[in-house]
């Protein structure tokens, strides 16, 4: 599959870009957002990186090369942006932000791995059913209480309990039971659900 995509890219089939977008696009958005703290800007910089990837396809040698190209291009665009805003900031504060902003290769690689890992976790969560995903998001990501979840989902507390234990059962399947991730989820859920102490 990976090889076919790469070959298609080399052959000049622009449709294959959407496969690469599916593979790294979400992670890149997160990566860019963590640098510029602006979703619309992150969107713009990431899509530009794909357009540049297309223009540079002839000198790319592998899928790994494509991945690092996308991250490097996005990172550089983020830094350019930070610098240009930094000049304005500097005029006011007399200090430079760009000095401490991330520029080393090892930092780039670490951030890339971080974003890619989170996209993999995201993909695991997307394997849950819609209700399970929603409960997961509301409890783990947004940290809502049972009452808040009930009102958001228009469910009774019992239904939330059922949906939640189902979500946990599936998470257990997806994330096995001894895992750290599930523990985290459990803690997050337990904290918010003192009214359901039997939840395991």
């Amino acid at each position: 599959m990976e090889d076919t995509c790469f070959d298609q890219l080399k052959l000049g089939d622009e449709r294959v870009l959407s496969a690469y977008f599916n593979r790294h696009g979400r992670a890149l958005l997160l990566f860019a957002y963590r640098m510029v703290a602006d979703a619309s800007l992150a969107e713009e910089l990431v899509q530009d990186a794909y357009v540049k990837l297309w223009a540079a396809r002839h000198r790319l040698e592998s899928d790994a090369h494509i991945k690092s190209f996308l991250y490097r291009t996005t990172r550089n665009a983020c830094i350019d942006h930070l610098r240009s805003t930094d000049y304005r900031m500097q005029a006011v504060s007399g200090e430079s932000l760009a000095e401490n902003s991330i520029q080393t290769d090892s930092d780039l690689l670490a951030r890339m791995i971080h974003a890619e890992t989170l996209q993999l976790v995201y993909a695991e969560v997307k394997k849950l059913s819609p209700t399970q995903q929603q409960v997961f998001k509301l409890t783990f990501v947004e940290g809502l209480t049972t009452e808040e979840i009930c009102s958001q989902l228009e469910m009774t507390a019992n239904a939330v309990f059922i949906a939640r234990s189902k979500a946990l059962a599936t998470l257990k399947r997806v994330f096995k039971d001894t895992d750290l991730f599930l523990c985290l989820t459990f803690y997050a859920l337990m904290e918010r659900s003192a009214d359901f102490p039997t939840l395991t």
């Binding site: 622009e14 957002y33 963590r34 794909y50 357009v51 791995i113 993999l120 997307k126 895992d179």
Partner: protein, 410 residues
Amino acid sequence: MRIGQDIEHLLLRRLQGIATADENEFIETWANESAENRVILNRLETKQTLREDLGVLFDLVDTEKGAERLQRMELHIRQHTQKPYAIRTRRWLPYVAAAAMLTLATVAWMLREDRVPDRRSQIDLAQRIQPGGNRATLTLADGRMVNLSENQDGIVIGDEGITYLDGTGVGLTTTQGPTDREAASLSVYQLELSTPRGGQYQITLPDGTNVWLNAESTLRYPSRFSQRERMVEIAGEAYFEVVKDHNRPFKVVSRGQTVEVLGTEFNIAAYPDEQNAKTTLVKGKVNVRLNASTPSRDHAPLTLLPGQQATVGASSLRVDKVDVNQYVLWKDGFFYFNGHSPQEAFTQLSRWYDFELVYRGSIPSVQFFGKIERNKSLGSLLKILNKAGLEFEVVPKGNKIQLVIGQQHQ
């Protein structure tokens, strides 16, 4: 560790609690390589930061806004990487200007009995070329391609999956792999329906809107529309019968333009290898807006009324009153020519009968009139054209043919 596996897959396994001792050791080695790596490992393993980062990711890509964002980005990428207009240069393009000057000399090309040409064997050859039919391929989010049945007219995209118009399944267990059907209906995926040359197919979208796809066309659509808008993309030709929904405008994006409607019927012909995109309105009202990548983008949106057609080119834009039938009868199984130029007519024919078109010398300056059924074989069609005095040659090419238009000895 498995050779060649990315460190992020190992990290996922670690978060899932299923990393082996070797894998954990590898992760430790990796974390020791740089201070930055250690920071990342801690960030992933600390509840607070993991929650924070996942929260940002879900916010960016898993909300309604997020799904729109991803769709918008993919569209932007496609629009900025597609090959430019008319990449397949037509060898007759230089002649178009000359042909235009000859318009005064144009003869309305009616059936004439006074020629008895020697083309019998060639027409017999073309007799074997059958017309197009119901052919299309459905491409799923995971890249799987499904060839749709030729015995069916169309498919329906429903909450429960994809079926043919008569209710039988298309032979997919789920829309996107071994996950819940529920999950499939929650997540939004881009799907693609494509017809080859000589193919046509109908599709009913999740909102009930019907789309007829002509030959050599591709429709991209989401598995579920967002609550604010219904956006699809077309390359090629399609007839739209849009279900009215005042809260969610229906948008059709093609190269150079976006057509926005609430509920109406219209035809769009926007083939990548043609200069212009033509939008023909049958019923209701539509707005045609130029896309940001079009040079004349600052032009105000056009509003079309029934019977009007917008022609959007790389650097031109105009509205004409037209005979709507010319542009929409294909969906009912007819070629309908009303003063068409040979280029327009033959391009339509070549897409439907899947033959290669070559012009020799100047293009005949004639006009096409008539209504011809699309289910005739190419041979019977050429018989009519032959009688009408058109000079052409049929050249076999594999199991297809090449139609050479123009005089033989020049």
